[in-house]
Symmetry: C2
Subunit: 444 residues, 2 copies
């Protein structure tokens, strides 16, 4: 049995256990749609069985490629946006030392192509001057604007430093199996490549090479990550009463229908900040459509108890919280005794810092529930590759179920095209002549 | 005249210019309450005239102290939470190199006491072993749990490394003028100190030594920061039609009353991420009370166009956006021409990266407004100390006005006490015996 637990008693009294239970038939139907492919977006269900279907040979290939990059590069830049950025970033930040960039150890993985910041790119290129660096470029088409700009510039820099032939050995492309600009370039230049499957969308791609290669380069155990995901895949595949993905999906839909429009994902460990960012994409992009969907937000506590805490305690009663509680820290640190005790902390001397953190967490959950904020609690034994694998797959499965329960296609993102179309029109991209004319007329 | 502009035409058609204008009398009244002290929380209005009242001698003292810390320390740890963390963090991140931690230059300012992460503190202490480090400890009372734990541990480490006398020269305390544990300790140990005024709350303290000293240690020009704030103070002191703080406060209240419950602060420059975090505390803690208040959220674009973008475009129509648009970047970078042009980017070759970014921004604003998301646009000439000073004071002034228009006391935070009371009860803090008994009975 999975070691992750989902505890929902604190959504009462707003939503009773019976009210949650009443949604079980819907959740069962949604789960079956994920497995029999009878729902909307059924051409993007590759993630459902992906962990158990991932061959060892693929993991070996990724690990060998990562090793080669680590041996040949001082730093590796992963170029990608959206799901081609957030999954790897989430796992690497969760597992890394809080002060990793200051430690000058290992092979840092930097990110590019996740924004169009001119200063960001300028400073990245400045930093890479004279450094042995490698590139992982992640794009299904090879033409997405943000990563394409970054890749064009970093490829040029690398080729200037090493020549075209040598540069090609330090570039890995993760792209479509057959089509697209990046596949063509990779073939021409002889890049090592991995495939983005047609049936796995970006926000569900963390457990494919898209996420796994940067994570492996950063030095983490992708076999353990996949093992954890496999365990969870098996655990939430069937409509049992213990299916925690169904429990989470049912509970959050019950809360939404009862008027709770904002879900705040809460952590008490700053390393989980980007797991929350990944979760925001997963749920926001899957559910935010047809003028529906829970608004996903996140806080890092106890930091944000001194920021958003006041609003959460006393603002509009339109929110619920989902707390990720990590049972055990990696390191151990005791609060020292102090003779003078001016700060009055001796009552917690000899306690572990995390014991205090846990009481902040429990005290906050009680205060927020008392204040009218329903609470879902997700417990995770500790932060390592295995449990992250469980957690990521759990959130993916619950998202698929939840989106179908909401009555949307959880696997498309039509709204993302709207800004792109305007941007291309404004930039007078070939093929957008009509749109350019229209938008210019409008702006006059 | 200030160089920051606030453009509100795109809140129509939901909210007409007349509807915004109808709130002018309320905004005028709120502004006068800030200046005559006739409103709730009037013992916390020190920030209103603070920039113009900041003596040069204080800035000189802060700069001299910062210089001494820089000369004597490889790294300085700023210990504080809430407003004693976010203001300095926001300015330092906005002005710093995107890859600063990798550059091994200057005196990095690290932060502690803004969480109770055992692994975070453990890794910080591990990193500081054998390093020449200094401490800026920021706490009005000296007994706030998070910073008090961090300070107790780092002080012990520093004293072990250097002895008590030498350690005292590398510790600066920013605290109450007369009272409290930290003031007493500073007097006993002979720390250099700066004062937290009684009439300036934490979230309004970035332009006091609380924010200024860490910013100066990081190498930035606090005189320019204060100069910008002074300009803005004078600009928004009077109820003229050009008062942009009134404009912003009126517009967001009109949107809130029209049913827009979530405000998303949007940037297109990742360096502004923590300015948004600072803004979330400022507005969330000031307005989120009495079951009222706009829910503050933030996105970093174009990164988050591939995450929250779908929700914003097509989710529930309960949101509006406030975009911070930075006119000019600091560096210049052109997109190169590429003969093969497989990625199809040659149509933007020779353009500055920021030109593309600006079209992403404009294209997104148009798409979101078309999709039913009203838009407020705040333009800033560039990111430097001066304009940050203007921007920070602008947001403070608008927050005071907006909070009074909402009908709350914008200067208290009663809800923050609730989790603390429970935490102290759970930790059996002396003086909380009754609460401990009650909470234990409840948890049985």
């Amino acid at each position: 049995m999975s070691t992750i637990q989902v505890i929902t008693k604190d959504v009462a009294p707003l939503v009773s256990a019976d009210a949650v239970e009443a949604l079980r038939p819907e959740a069962e139907k949604a789960l079956s749609m994920l497995h029999d492919g009878s729902g909307a977006g059924n051409d993007f269900l590759g993630w459902v069985k992906l962990p158990c279907e991932t061959p060892q040979s693929l993991l070996d290939d990724i690990n060998a490629t990562a090793r080669s990059l680590r041996e040949n590069c001082e730093v590796v830049v992963a170029i990608g946006i959206g799901g081609s950025y957030l999954g790897a970033k989430a796992v690497i930040e969760a597992l890394g030392n809080s002060f990793a960039p200051y430690l000058n150890s290992g092979t840092p993985v930097l990110f590019a192509g996740q924004n169009i910041g001119e200063d960001y790119l300028y400073e990245l290129i400045e930093y890479l001057q004279g450094k042995k660096f490698g590139i992982i470029v992640i794009s299904k088409s090879g033409t997405t604007t943000e990563p394409a700009i970054a890749f064009r510039m970093l490829k040029e820099l690398l080729e200037k430093q090493l020549g075209k032939a040598e540069a090609s050995k330090r570039i890995v492309a993760i792209t479509d199996a057959h089509r697209g600009a990046l596949r063509q370039l990779a073939t021409e230049e002889g890049y090592k490549t991995f495939v983005i499957a047609d049936n796995v969308g970006g926000r569900f791609s963390v457990l494919t090479p898209v996420g796994l290669l940067p994570i492996a380069v950063a030095g983490y155990d992708i076999e353990q990550l996949i093992d954890g995901a496999r365990l969870m895949q098996l655990e939430v595949a069937n409509p049992s009463r213990d299916n925690i993905a169904m429990t989470y999906a049912m509970t959050r839909n019950a809360l939404y229908r009862a008027g709770k429009k904002i879900e705040i994902l809460v952590n008490y460990n700053p390393k989980l900040h980007y797991v929350a960012e990944w979760w925001k994409q997963l749920y926001g992009e899957s559910e935010g459509k047809d003028h529906k969907g829970i608004f996903p937000a996140a806080v890092d506590n106890s930091t944000d108890l001194h920021s958003m805490g006041q609003w959460i305690q006393d603002g509009e009663r339109s929110i619920f919280e989902t707390v990720i509680s990590v049972n055990s820290t990696v390191h151990a640190l005791e609060i020292p005794y102090d003779d003078a005790n001016l700060d009055g902390l001796n009552y917690i001397a000899a306690k572990r810092v995390d014991q205090v953190n846990k009481m902040a967490e429990l005290g906050t959950r009680i205060a927020h529930v008392d204040g009218g904020v329903p609470n879902i609690l997700i417990t995770v034994p500790t932060i390592n590759e295995h449990f992250l694998g469980e957690l990521l797959y759990f959130f993916e499965a619950a998202c698929g179920i939840s989106g179908y329960m909401l009555g949307v296609n959880p696997f498309n993102q039509p709204g993302v095209e709207d800004y792109k179309r305007n941007m291309f029109a404004l930039l007078a991209k070939p093929g957008y002549e009509k749109e350019t004319e229209a938008i210019n007329a409008r702006l006059k």
